[in-house]
């Protein structure tokens, strides 16, 4: 389902073609697909193979002439004993799971509010998607300097009446800051998904339930929640795929710190490759990340594959 398996599949396909089994009709059908497939294969698959290859070398750009000892497990041994790597793994889990859950909760809540008749609903919907559209780099800078800053930040000003006016958000509550930023960025996406789910709900079904004497809470539990479930599952899957790669906000707001408090795997790999120039070790970490992603995504995809067959693959 995920990459490794699929890239292998194109080979037997080519062989089947040469064997001349399919008719010329199916040949022609395939032609429009070829450019896109070849392009994607070259740009996305070849780098991964190279990552794997580098991961078995002692390859550091600071020492271009040093022997690379291919093949060696040195990089993997290094990672195995690396305390920071373990911290980065835990941070990645924390900084993915919490924002995903929080943005789903906020997203469903806001979608429920916006699904009612509210004055200026279209306008509000336009406003709520904005955090998602704003360039993450720009948003992170604005958060860092004009909102969270201890001197000039507007957040502490708003919190002063609640006795919280002197928090050092970036320096002390760094994980909370990143979680807040990611949740803010991703809530609009969940709102859109949940709204799509709510709007696919048949009004006559609700009417019938109402006539039968079901209360609001019962209708919500028995009709709305099951209706929303596939949309929420999809939101969790896609949110995780994107948020696990979070980089922009961390790079700008905390630079992985203080110490390694907000260093997630993408940021740690970035540091290893582009600040320590240790290509070999960074590649080995990337390999581990890719394998973990494949495992998790395969399980998750199987879990929600029903969505893709019911919704996206409607028709044939």
């Amino acid at each position: 389902m995920v990459n490794v398996i699929d890239s292998a599949q194109s080979a037997p396909k080519a062989r089947a073609l040469r064997a001349g089994k399919p008719s010329t009709g199916s040949w022609i059908r395939r032609v429009p697909l070829v450019p896109a497939l070849v392009f994607m294969f070259i740009v996305t698959q070849i780098p991964f193979v190279l990552t794997l290859w580098y991961s078995f070398q002692r390859y550091n750009l600071n020492f271009p002439t040093a022997p690379r000892d291919f093949p060696t497990l040195w990089n993997y041994q290094q990672i195995f004993g690396d305390h920071t790597f373990r911290v980065a793994v835990l941070n990645t889990v924390l900084l993915t799971a919490v924002p995903v859950i929080a943005s789903v909760v906020f997203g469903v809540g806001i979608a429920l509010l916006l699904n009612r008749y509210v004055f200026g609903r279209g306008f509000l919907r336009t406003l709520i998607i904005s955090p998602f559209l704003v360039m993450p780099t720009a948003a992170a800078l604005v958060w860092k300097f004009t909102i969270l800053d201890t001197t000039f930040g507007v957040l502490n000003f708003f919190l002063r009446p609640f006795g919280l006016g002197n928090e050092n958000w970036i320096g002390v509550h760094s994980q909370l800051t990143i979680i807040g930023f990611l949740t803010w960025q991703w809530t609009p996406f969940m709102v859109l998904l949940a709204l799509a789910g709510l709007q696919s709900q048949g009004e006559d079904l609700l009417e019938a339930a109402r006539v039968d004497g079901a209360g609001s809470w019962r209708i919500f539990r028995r009709l709305t929640v099951p209706q929303l479930r596939p949309y929420i599952e999809l939101g969790v899957l896609l949110g995780s795929i994107y948020i696990v790669q979070a980089f922009d906000g961390i790079y700008i707001i905390t630079a992985g710190g203080p110490s390694t408090d907000t260093t997630n795997l993408p940021y740690y790999i970035y540091e290893t490759a582009f600040q320590a120039y240790d290509i070999g070790r960074a590649s080995a970490m990337a390999v581990i990340v890719v394998i973990a992603t494949i495992l998790i995504a395969t399980v998750a995809l199987r879990l929600i594959s029903s969505i893709f067959s019911e919704e996206g693959m409607r028709g044939r």
């Binding site: 032609v31 697909l33 190279l50 720009a138 948003a139 693959m313």
Partner: protein
């Protein structure tokens, strides 16, 4: 947005509950929108108005910081240069994506190949793999091919980044084209290319536009590849903004003005395409 009739729940609720829920909706939405609003407002201030420990909500708006961002002050490049890079990269990457994705989507929907499900999953699976897994070889390959810090490197990579989304989206639009229309064109003797040009493309043009907008949004905002593979000649707007990470002197109004200019194209595009946004983001899984 779509003018929907009042739902059942609305008609049942008591007026006070309705009012409070409406108020809550406004408050929550404004809290979420506030950082964007604050960015735009701060950009309209002068530095003395912006760099204060007690925020100034009442001030005399001025475009002086927008003007100074536009003109640039010292440094290697001014914002217009980076904007130009961003426009070239996003536009060409989007054109490339559509040229590759439209035929592919056709072969996965209207006249599907035998294993279209596997092909679709191949496309979506490339989105699931983290970019960090590929960044190191991309850097080394780009260096060896002498395209590091070149615009065409980002064009190719952004096209690859958006191709799966575009295929999924276009496919879901193509599936909505009535079969009879295509059949009629075929009976009239139109070949595949003619069918595409004179029948299918006109029908799906709103979908085509939405797909282009979403590819544009993702490419415009992309930072990870840009920061690792470009420095000056191929640098896009996010790289310009990152220069503000080490502040010198009072700069909040300047930063906010620059950030607002950087966000404006995507905000406008996103607001225009908001109906279709979810389809692109969910890779076509939700209509």
């Amino acid at each position: 947005m779509s003018r929907q009739k009042k739902t059942l729940a609305d008609r049942q609720a008591k007026p006070l509950t309705k009012l409070l829920l409406g108020l809550l909706t406004w408050v929550v939405v404004i809290i979420f929108f506030f950082p964007v609003l604050w960015m735009a407002l701060t950009g309209l201030k002068t530095e003395p108005d912006a760099d204060t420990s007690t925020p100034h909500f009442i001030f005399k708006p001025t475009f002086s910081e927008y003007a100074s961002v536009w003109k640039g002050a010292g440094g290697l490049n001014s914002l217009p240069t980076y904007l130009e890079h961003s426009v070239i990269v996003t536009v060409l990457a989007t054109v490339l994506v559509l040229l590759l994705a439209l035929p592919a989507a056709y072969a996965l929907s209207i006249r599907p190949v035998r294993k279209w499900r596997d092909v679709l999953f191949f496309f979506i699976s490339t989105k699931m793999l983290p970019v960090v897994g590929a960044i190191i070889p991309l850097y080394v390959i780009a260096r060896d091919l002498h395209v590091l810090d070149h615009l065409r490197l980002l064009i190719v990579l952004y096209a690859a980044m958006n191709l799966p989304i575009a295929v999924w989206m276009l496919r879901s639009f193509l599936l909505e084209v009535p079969r009879e229309v295509i059949e009629a064109a075929r009976v009239d003797g139109a070949g595949v290319v003619r069918q595409m040009r004179s029948v299918i493309i006109p029908i799906i043009s709103p979908g085509l536009a939405a797909t282009a907008l979403i590819c544009f949004i993702f490419a415009w905002n992309e930072f990870f590849l840009a920061v690792n593979l470009t420095t000056v000649n191929g640098a896009t707007v996010p790289i310009y903004l990152v220069g503000f990470v080490q502040p010198e002197g009072p700069f909040l109004a300047h930063l906010s003005a620059a950030a607002t200019i950087a966000c404006l194209p995507v905000l406008l595009a996103g607001w225009a395409a908001q109906d279709k946004l979810v389809r692109g983001l969910s890779m076509g899984a939700v209509k």
